[in-house]
């Protein structure tokens, strides 16, 4: 559809969550904003292929996610200071204890495989349905569900269970599914 003023406003309204998604994925504020900028340019360049009435945020997230994927492959040999850069992007510095807890969480999140991290963020933070998350990642709904479950169980093992290695993955997954009520 053509780039109407309404569509511009709608795209602009998605920017805060696009930035949050980009920072959660990359752990690097500067790189995240470059990703968002490129996402916006690509989206507007291809606005004719956007179907009016379809899910605009999901369309934008798909573009960002694919850009991040190709960017990631390009840069995977570079050494990154993910934590330091992320902390700089925060406007309000959390109190000391909360800050430590936050750093621990961020470090654990970065340890997840990329597939699991993006699934968890889309469902657990961005608030997409499993169906939308599956469309964004180009995989089956069941795949997204199992990635989210594995991400949750791995995070709980990393953050809250001593001797995580002794805690079998199957047992963890079962427990997580039980904890969610199915």
């Amino acid at each position: 559809m053509p780039l109407t003023d309404t569509l511009r406003d709608d795209i602009l309204a998605s920017v805060p969550s696009l930035r949050a998604f980009a920072i959660s994925l990359s752990g690097n504020g500067d790189r995240a904003d470059d990703l968002v900028q490129e996402t916006l340019l690509r989206a507007i360049a291809n606005i004719d292929s956007f179907q009016p009435g379809s899910n605009l945020p999901a369309w934008l997230f798909t573009i960002l996610r694919n850009l991040f994927r190709s960017d990631y492959r390009k840069r995977r040999r570079e050494v990154e200071d993910a934590e330091g850069n992320y902390a700089k992007t925060l406007k309000t510095q959390p109190a000391q204890n909360a800050h430590l807890e936050f750093e621990e969480f961020r470090t654990a999140l970065d340890k997840l495989p990329q597939d699991q991290r993006e699934a968890l963020i889309l469902v657990g933070a961005s608030g997409f349905s499993y169906e939308d998350a599956a469309a964004i990642c180009g995989c089956a709904v069941g795949t997204i569900k199992s990635r989210v479950n594995r991400a949750r169980s791995k995070l709980s093992a990393l953050l809250y269970v001593d001797g995580a290695e002794d805690f079998g993955p199957d047992e963890t997954v079962r427990a997580v599914i039980g904890g969610n009520g199915g």
Partner: protein, 65 residues
């Protein structure tokens, strides 16, 4: 199933903490709103052609680095 039920309490609590931390991290960025550079960018672009040209410039720059 009994085994699952036994672990459910602790696990539900851990999962709720993880969910809370994840959203806290995410919402902290969402609350920063729209940085000026993005508002200007979207206002400036006349349409698809201008956006494609700007995207191509970024690709050129990446290629040189």
């Amino acid at each position: 199933m009994k085994e699952v039920k036994k672990q459910g309490g602790l696990n539900a609590e851990i999962q709720s903490r993880i969910g809370h931390q994840l959203r806290a991290m995410y919402d902290d960025v969402v609350r920063q709103g729209v940085p000026d550079r993005f508002a200007e960018l979207i206002r400036k672009l006349d349409g698809p052609e201008a956006a494609a040209a700007a995207a191509a410039q970024i690709d050129d720059k990446d290629g040189r680095d």
